[in-house]
Structures are given as structure tokens and as C-alpha cells.
């Protein structure tokens, strides 16, 4: 190894950075770890020593048994999956299309639309809850998954458009021009050339969009609290009672709820790493 003064300085800096990041990771992961660890313990063991790992004595799957034993748990799970995936699909599709239109075409109101969408990032959608509830009530959509999907699309779009515009702008303009010379229609250019090239960005947006939707408690509680439309986060609440809380069941269902997002994240994160544009232009 070559010892340069500049390099040494950098190693120190790298160590510092990693120390900070590691500390943050530990703090962020600790509650999740506690949830998972305690999900595999008996009720007594949870209260005796919440931080202890499950031993042969304290190991128990009673929480999982209870959660999986209930038929409606599958329903909640399915609801969450449907809402998340459908919202995700539309956020990505509409977001990418809007981003393409806003960056590629010059039309009246282009800037106005862009500013409007940027404002969507700054103003939390929850401020509009009352009007949204009114709207859904008049549309007769209360207690339907459609209501949730619509709200989540609105919630996810601004950031999606914002991030994807940046990436679409980076696609070399010669590629689009070459395609136009090849008589490729604008739709085809978007779907066969632009979309494959911004896949890493789509994955980023997917992760950012998916997690808040999956974890949301607010809108399911307000818009779809009905028995048949509850999502997993809402479903967990029934184990939390005013006087008695079934911690085994709560922790087990939360542990189960982590799995699908984790799987989706693993799928998307592979895309995050790849830079696909290399080789397009020198």
C-alpha cells in the first residue's frame, strides 16, 4: 500500500463516516430486532427480559399460531399486498410518463404543472384528510381498497415525477433522435428506450413509494376501517386492547409484515446498483 498523506487523511475520514453510519444503522435496526426477537418468546419471557434472546425455555411460537390461526389475517395481508402493488404500479407508470412529458415536450403550462407537482412533495397529503374523506364519501368509495389506492397514488406521484425527471433528463438526447430517425413512435420511444434506461431510478422510486404505503396506518384507519378492507397495520391493532394487549400476536404479525417488503426491497435493490446507460454514447 502506498502511504500518501492525502490517502491517510481519507482513511481517517472513511472510518469516521462508517462509524457514524454504523451507529445510525444500529439505532435504526434495534427496535426491529427487539420485535423479531420477542416474537419468538413466550409471553412471560417477553416481560421478564425484553432484550434477551429466546432460549430453549422461553422459545415459543404461540404468537404466530394465534395470528396464523385467524382466517382474517390472510385477508389483511392480501389487502396490504393489493394496495401496495397496485399503487406502486400506477405511481411508477404515471410518474414516469409525467416525468417524460414534462422534460421532453415544451407545451403551455409545462412549468406550472412542474411547480404544482413539486408542491406536492412539500405539502403532506394528510393535511387534506378531511376533504379526502368527504370526497371518498361522495364517491361512495369509503371502505374500499380503491380509496386507498387512489390516495397512495396521489401521495407517491410528486416524488416519483421529481426523481424520474432528473434521470430522464440524463438520457442522451441523441438516443431519442436516433429513435425518431428510425420511425419509432413517441410511445414506443418511451416504453422501449426510456423506461429500460431509467430502471435503476424506477427501483429507487419503487422503494421510496412502497415502504410508506405498506406501513401506513392513517388512511386505512380513516378510509377503510371495515372488516373486509383492513390492511395489515390496521389488523394488528385488534390485538392491542384497552386493558390487555396480546404482545405475542402483535409482535408476530409485525414480524410477518416485514417479510414481503423485505422481499420487494431485495428485488428492487439489485436494480439500484446497475448503471444501464454505459455504452450508449462515449
Amino acid at each position: 500500500m502506498i502511504s500518501l498523506p492525502g490517502l491517510k487523511h481519507n482513511t481517517g475520514k472513511t472510518l469516521m463516516t462508517h462509524a457514524v453510519l454504523l451507529t445510525y444503522t444500529v439505532i435504526a435496526l434495534f427496535p426491529i430486532l427487539v420485535i423479531i426477537v420477542n416474537a419468538f418468546k413466550s409471553r412471560k419471557a417477553i416481560f421478564k427480559d425484553p432484550l434477551a434472546l429466546p432460549t430453549l425455555d422461553s422459545f415459543s411460537l404461540e404468537g404466530f399460531e394465534q395470528v396464523l390461526g385467524r382466517a382474517d389475517f390472510g385477508l389483511y395481508f392480501g389487502n396490504s399486498m393489493i394496495v401496495t402493488l397496485v399503487s406502486l404500479f400506477f405511481v411508477l407508470l404515471l410518474g414516469a410518463m409525467a416525468a417524460w412529458a414534462l422534460t421532453e415536450y415544451k407545451f403551455r403550462g409545462n412549468l406550472f404543472l412542474a411547480v404544482l407537482i413539486a408542491m406536492g412533495i412539500m405539502i403532506p397529503i394528510r393535511l387534506g384528510t378531511v376533504s379526502i374523506l368527504n370526497l371518498m364519501a361522495s364517491l361512495d368509495l369509503v371502505n374500499t381498497l380503491t380509496a386507498l389506492v387512489l390516495v397512495y397514488i396521489a401521495q407517491g406521484l410528486p416524488l416519483a415525477v421529481f426523481i424520474l425527471s432528473e434521470f430522464i433528463r440524463q438520457v442522451p438526447k441523441e438516443l431519442k433522435e436516433a429513435a425518431r430517425c428510425d420511425n419509432v413512435s413517441e410511445y414506443k420511444i418511451f416504453f422501449t428506450i426510456i423506461l429500460p434506461l431509467i430502471r435503476p431510478a424506477m427501483a429507487t422510486v419503487a422503494v421510496f413509494t412502497m415502504i410508506p404505503i405498506w406501513n401506513d396506518l392513517w388512511f386505512p384507519l380513516i378510509l377503510a376501517p371495515g372488516e373486509s378492507t383492513q390492511t395489515i397495520t390496521l389488523g394488528v391493532q385488534q390485538f392491542i386492547g384497552q386493558y390487555v394487549t396480546d404482545w405475542n400476536a402483535v409482535l408476530s404479525s409485525l414480524t410477518l409484515a416485514i417479510v414481503p417488503v423485505l422481499v420487494l426491497y431485495v428485488i428492487f435493490s439489485r436494480q439500484l446498483i446497475r448503471g444501464l446507460t454505459s455504452g450508449a454514447v462515449k
Binding site: 430517425c181 420511425n183 454514447v281
Partner: protein
């Protein structure tokens, strides 16, 4: 057959005019090179022909058809971009076949077309690779291949060689020349490199600040530059310019009092010039000789000598501070700071008037004049 005809083509961005009325006639099968310094509008002109940008005013015809408002694909053109613009997520085969697939051609037809083009360009073995796995030269060939398979009436090349290294550039240049012979297609080629322009073009269009400065065969531009700009642009190293005043007018020459005190003869037609008018004398470095008896004598101090082997470029400063370049022989023994005398023959001199327009040369040396060239061409065609 597809002649390309540009009549009074203008382009402005907002209120900024970029092209000020371009007229150009390109015959079928001609290799036309648009050349000029960066920012002169040559690439813009190409993009207008391609249909990638709108023409502000004027008329563009390809074949018999006015194509001003047609989209690129319907103009029968194919463009090769400076950056190649290959679709990065498609293999070479898919890159080349994409346009045909979109056009709804049959699978066998596409396959045959692509393989034929790949054979011409020697990229048959690369068809299954992705663009990022190719070298610069190979990518360039794929880009050309993508243009060939579409059988366009007109090929448009936008500085296709500027991303290649020097050796590859020369090689690819030769290949493009051969390709033109093989395909017999009309090619419009944009470059800022005058060597590319001279070697490839049947016709060169020199552009300057959004105007066509001169249009002609490579030798015409070299021997009869119409303006001082063309004189300086064509040829390397650049033509030397020395300011002066007309001192006397003869029947087959004029005499010029140069700013460094020398008096020079130049074999040009005087036209409207009068004694006392300011003119600029132009002499190419290769026409100045390292001896004192060729004609007009100039003396100055050598500031730098570049030795290329087959020649030496001698940079010298005349008495009045004018900088000059002389192409001396490779064996030249001149050294820096030395004082030397050089001379040039009167028939090698170019003279530009105060508006930078060239005066007609009367004895352009051992080379053909435009009229002679036209005559030769006519004779050649008859014998064919």
C-alpha cells in the same frame, strides 16, 4: 434518385438567427462535406435536413418532394451521430434491426439486411454483443450499420470520427470513403476537420457564422478560395496573411507594398482595385521556399521550428511583427532565433481586397482552374 435542394433556409432560436439563408444543391450520389469552425451552424443545418429541428423559413426538398414539415422517418434519411447513440440495452443485431422491425418488415428480410450490412462493415462477429462491450471504432461501425440497413436516400453524418483516436480516425475515414463508392448514396457529412473534408468530399461547403462562405470541389477551395476565411480555413498549417497596399497595376499582375517594407508581385486580376487600396496578401506555407530567389523576398527571425520528419514548420516573425509559417524541407537546418530569408513566386500569391474577397488568380500554378476542371470533367464524361 434523391437530389437534395436547399433554398434560402433560415433558422433562428427565438430572436437569435443562426442560419441566414442557405442555398445548396446536392446531386444524387454526391459526397458533400459541411465544414466550418464550431458554432458556424453546420450541425444545425444537418439537423434541419434530418428533421430533428424545425426550419424557420425557406424550402428543403429531398428528391422531388418538399419535406419541410415531414418527420425525420419519412424523409428517407438516416443519421449517424457523433456519440453513436446506440440503444444501450439492445444487442448490436437489435440495434441495427430496430428501425426495420418498427417498419413492420418480415423476420427473414430483417435478418438478411442486417447480416449484409454487418458483412460490409466487418462486424458480423459482434452481432450478439451489447454496445458497452464494443470499442469506439466498433460502435461507430454499428451506428453506420444501423443507417445502412434502412436503405436511406440520404446519409447524414454528424462529426462521426471526432470521438475516435487519431489512428482509428484515419482508418475509419478511408472506410467511409470506400463505403460511399460501394453504396453510391448521397452523403452529407459534417466535420470541423479540414483534412476529413478535403479527403472525403466531392464537394465541400465552407460555412462561417451561419452563411455559406464558399462551395466547391476540394481543389477549387484550395486553389481559389473566394474569401480570406476560406483561404485561412482550408490548408494546414494556415495560409499566411500580410497586409499591404496596391502600389502598381500591371496587365497580368499587381504590385503590393507590404507592411514590412517589401514589395511583392501577385498574378491576380486587378478588377476594380486602384493604386493605394488596402489589400491582404495570402501565401500558403507550402508555397514559401527557403531560398531567396523564388520571387518576393521576406526576411525574419525564427521563433520556433517543428520537425515532422518529412517537413519542418518554421515559425518566423517579420520585421513589422507579422507572424508567418513556412513549410521547409525535412532536412532543413534552420534553428530558433536565427534570421532567415524566404521567398515565394508571384503566381502562388492570393490577394484579398478590403472586404476580404479574393481577386481572381491568373496563373494558379501547375493546377487546373475551375474552367479547366469543368472542361476536363466534360471530356471525361464523354469518354465514359
Amino acid at each position: 434518385m434523391a437530389d437534395v435542394k436547399l433554398s434560402n433556409i433560415k433558422k433562428s432560436y427565438g430572436n437569435t438567427p443562426v442560419l441566414h439563408g442557405i442555398d445548396l444543391d446536392i446531386k444524387h450520389g454526391e459526397f458533400v462535406v459541411l465544414v466550418g469552425a464550431s458554432g458556424c451552424g453546420k450541425s444545425t443545418l444537418l439537423r434541419l435536413i434530418a428533421g430533428l429541428e424545425d426550419i424557420s423559413s425557406g424550402e428543403l426538398c429531398i428528391g422531388e418532394q418538399q419535406v419541410n414539415s415531414l418527420p425525420p422517418a419519412q424523409r428517407g434519411i438516416a443519421m449517424v451521430f457523433q456519440s453513436y447513440a446506440l440503444y444501450p440495452h439492445m444487442t448490436v443485431f437489435k440495434n441495427m434491426s430496430y428501425g426495420l422491425k418498427i417498419a413492420g418488415k418480415g423476420k427473414d428480410f430483417i435478418d438478411a439486411k442486417v447480416r449484409e450490412a454487418a458483412r460490409i462493415l466487418h462486424i458480423d462477429h459482434l452481432l450478439e454483443r451489447l454496445p458497452r462491450e464494443l470499442s469506439g471504432g466498433q460502435r461507430q461501425r454499428v451506428a453506420i450499420g444501423r443507417a445502412i440497413v434502412r436503405d436511406p436516400n440520404v446519409f447524414l453524418f454528424d462529426e462521426p470520427l471526432s470521438n475516435l483516436d487519431a489512428a482509428l480516425r484515419v482508418k475509419t475515414r478511408v472506410e467511409i470513403g470506400k463505403l460511399h463508392q460501394e453504396l453510391g448514396a448521397t452523403i452529407i457529412y459534417v466535420t470541423h476537420d479540414q483534412v476529413e473534408a478535403m479527403t472525403l468530399g466531392d464537394k465541400i461547403v465552407v460555412m462561417n457564422q451561419g452563411r455559406v462562405e464558399q462551395c466547391g470541389t476540394p481543389l477549387e477551395l484550395y486553389q481559389h478560395p473566394a474569401t480570406r476565411f476560406v483561404g485561412g480555413f482550408i490548408g494546414s498549417p494556415k495560409m499566411n496573411f500580410i497586409d499591404g497596399k496596391v502600389a502598381a497595376i500591371g496587365s497580368d499582375h499587381i504590385e503590393i507594398q507590404l507592411s514590412n517594407g517589401c514589395r511583392s508581385r501577385a498574378c491576380v486580376e486587378a478588377g476594380d482595385l486602384k493604386v493605394g487600396d488596402s489589400v491582404t496578401l495570402g501565401v500558403r506555407p507550402e508555397h514559401i521556399e527557403e531560398r531567396s530567389d523564388a520571387g518576393t523576398l521576406l526576411s525574419g527571425d525564427v521563433s520556433l521550428v517543428e520537425r515532422l520528419g518529412e517537413a519542418s514548420f518554421i515559425y518566423m516573425t517579420l520585421g513589422d511583427g507579422t507572424e508567418m509559417v513556412v513549410r521547409g524541407s525535412g532536412e532543413s537546418t534552420v534553428t530558433t532565433c536565427e534570421r532567415i530569408e524566404v521567398s515565394f513566386a508571384p503566381h502562388n500569391a492570393h490577394v484579398f481586397d478590403s472586404n476580404d474577397r479574393a481577386l481572381r488568380r491568373l496563373k494558379p500554378g501547375n493546377v487546373h482552374s475551375t474552367a479547366q476542371l469543368a472542361q476536363l470533367k466534360a471530356v471525361g464524361q464523354e469518354t465514359l
